[in-house]
Amino acid sequence: MTISNFTRRAVVGLIAAAGIAAPAAAEVDFSGKTVEWVIPFSETGGSAKWANFFAPLLSEALPGQPTVVVKFMPGAGSTKGANWFQEQSHDDGTLLFGTSGSTQFPYLLSDPRVRYEYNDWIPVMASGTGGVAYLNVEDGAKFDGSANALKDTNFIYGSQGATRLDLVPLLAWQMLGMNVEPVFGIKGRGDGRLMFERGEANIDYQTSSGYLGGSAPLVESGQAVPMMTWGALDADGNIVRDPTFPDIPTFKEVCEATDGCETTGEAWDAWKAFFVAGFPVQKLAFLPGDTPQEVVDAYTAAFQAVTERGDFADISSKRVGKYAVFVGDGSKAALQTATNVDDNAKAYVLNWLKEAYGVELN
């Protein structure tokens, strides 16, 4: 999936409105200034890692080479920081805000704490990731590309909460007719993997980088069996095999092979909507809504320059995973796909959360 391909499928009107990113905006100069990149999470999370990776690169690429510092404003599962950013207006272009799937999901699910509106903000960069689900050896032996033989097994899964990114795997397993019991209250996917390694959980999923770092070695040593990836989006918005894991089938393939699992209909649409919001477009960087066009262009050009570095593919894959990065119009299109979930899909998920886990968000 390339940036230009992704751009083509963008909403036409938005492209027109956005104008064309100038390669360098001469009148914008950040010399001697400090750009604050606010992350609504703590210093310790994945978003911190993401922003800390881009910050020095962005500093080099912005006109005037300002210092770019990452600031942390954790609270209320990132809604506190996002609510704060909603109140900010353009000052001198030195404020950048980063969001993650954990900011998108409460927005999509109409969490009562959400007082922010994505469409008010100007996206300048977006990046995504993939995810891989895997099984323990005993149950993995029963997996034949379909989940048919897994329907009678009881699974335990260490989960961060049904309304978080875990919504995507939990809903996928449910659609496959698998009986997965989530153990809630773990703090990160690393803890989930540890629970799997201790044999307390027998199914797990990791994002791409987490899988490569911690779970792939388990697969190599015969302690785990990969089941499926969530897939990746092609230029037309279809789910295709994740380029990072071309040998592992996607959930879509497994679903098609499994009796009773449909890749059309409201359940599928709902799953896909939340998958897109949580994975291919997981993290976004925003400027305040009233930022003048030349400042937006300067940031777009800077992020463009970052992704065009000769060594970008190399340094980014090692540090933040093999993420696709979208800039400028690409990020606008990405935002649209990530934050527009149709009402039926939303209603389906809200109802499922209530029925399966007793979660009510109001």
């Binding site: 000052d91 770092g213 070695p217 540090r319 007793g358």
Partner: protein
Amino acid sequence: MEVFATAVPALSDAWGLILQPIVLGYLVLGVVMGLAVGVFPGLGGIAGLSLLLPFMFGMDPILGLALMIGMVAVVPTSDTFASVLMGIPGSSASQATVLDGFPMAKKGEAARALSAAFASSLFGGLVGATFLTMFILVARPIVLAFGLPEMLMITILGLSMVAILAGRIPLKGVAAAGLGLMVGTIGEADAGGSLRMATYDIPYLTDGLKLVIVGLGIFAVPEIVSLLRQDRSIAKGASLGAGWLDGVKDWAANIWLSVRCSIIGVVVGVIPGLGGSVVDWIAYGHSVQSTKDKSNFGKGEVRGVIGPESSNNAKEGGGLVPTLLFGIPGSGSMAIFIGAVALLGSGDIEVGPSMLKDNLDITYSIVWLLALANVVGTILCIAASGGIAKLTTIRFTYLAPFLFMLISFAAFQSGQNFEDLLALFGIGLIGIFLRRFDWSRPAFLIGFVLSNPVEKFTNQAFQIASFRFRKSFGEGMEYVFSPIVIVLIVVTVVSVILGIRQAKMIMAEGEVKSGSKRAPLIFLLVIMAYLIVALVNANMIPDYNMTDKIIPLVIGSVSLFCCVILLIQMMRRPEGDAIFADKEIAGEDASAPHGLWSTLAWFASLIAATWVVGFILALIGFLIAFLRIRAGSSWQMTLILTACGIGFMCLMAGALNRDFPPGLLQDMVNLPWPLK
């Protein structure tokens, strides 16, 4: 034994990497920066590491590691200054140190307490590193043997230390711990997301209270207020008795205690998910149990300093195991460390299983850099301790405004909300009254710290156990009663029995006289009212979210039951009974020249002014007013001290890239930093 064959060359490679002048230079630089940052209680490691992150990108791995480890390693060492000298627990690693360290400072033995603590830290760090060098090779299966039932048992072992620290009336100690547990459940439940004693209209409460704030509120605020009321120096009579050499001798005389507590530190530190929260309490409990004459604990017993301090640096080493081998951070600073390692060099080093296979030399470098940083940091700290201990001879009225400044800033950094300051004040009030009526503050804090682990591990272990029992009864029993669990149960039971027998001799609050019934009774009724409200609140959570309500219901009921018995005892016993302990009846507080409320009003005024004009402007006004009116110093002195305080604050916050609490003024007018 194949692993050991690869270990020896890796170890010598590691030493080859470390013993280069430039690497040692970066290490020392990191240590010095860590010590400078460590002045701020409750901030240290995380703030310092975030500051270093931008420089890590593409840096030579060994240099970057030296710099970062130098900084992280000294935090549990340098925060001892705040614990011993001011009674401010700098981090969860130094809470138990406060119990005996601060009373020693009050006796004029600050230098002795500090150097004993530093010697123990150093030794603990070295024992930890030696142990790890061997252990890390075989650690993986052992770490994996610690499942949820095992972690739950260790948490309960930590909680059982309440038995030792309960004070003269054990029921009060249990109730205090129960109250701490209940306060710890405030906010959104981890499991089902239900709200406990919180509402979405006050987003601050949904995240729960932060340990930094509770630690500062329970320990630091009451001590600061009490000393300020007495208007004296921390060291009684403003004289320093025993010097730093005595502390080192104390440590040498108790070297076996130090060894045992170091091992406790490494072993508990190795278990992911528990981190440092229980280590120092278990070490403190062990120190008490292994001491013949227990009468001095809580009043300045040097063994009460040596135990926890030996364990907390060793714990940092143990914490490397889950961090490096599983990529699971044991603490906030370790989480940043993992992120930073990925930025180093060409990004080839990735924490996880490969640290043993491909990067064993790097792993050993990290272990021994940590040990070396401990040595450098400790030597610098011991060298400084004699001088810094003189702070305890200054009239406290000159220190207090700056301590209010520091703790307010530290509290604000935990969540960057104005509410952080309110919470600090509120918890401070609870701390003041717990202290006044001789309810065990350590018990409250242990309860608070362990609230989340108790709830989480109970729920998760229960869920998985019932899953196993459904498979077969045998499998369930095997899961719940593993050999490790059985050993831990025995240890816990023994420690509770010993603890109850010994508790009466250990008075964390010192001697407290008893007086009339009224005040202690009112305090008890207030606690009962809170417990009842919390119980009703928890009971309103729908039953399908049983995981979110069961722990508050059980703990709340037990605490309430204790309170009811206390209430009955209070009604039946005569005035003057130990149950009516009240520091305002006799002793230092009662004879203090200044009242409680007028002293507290100063702190309240700083917070109120911050709400209006923001922190720095409020602080300028507060410092001038306090120094002029309360301390009665000359204008010249006042202005110089105020300028120093503000300058220091701005310098540190500026260097660490931190903001100050804004007020209403900042909402209306755009002011430049630091006023914004």
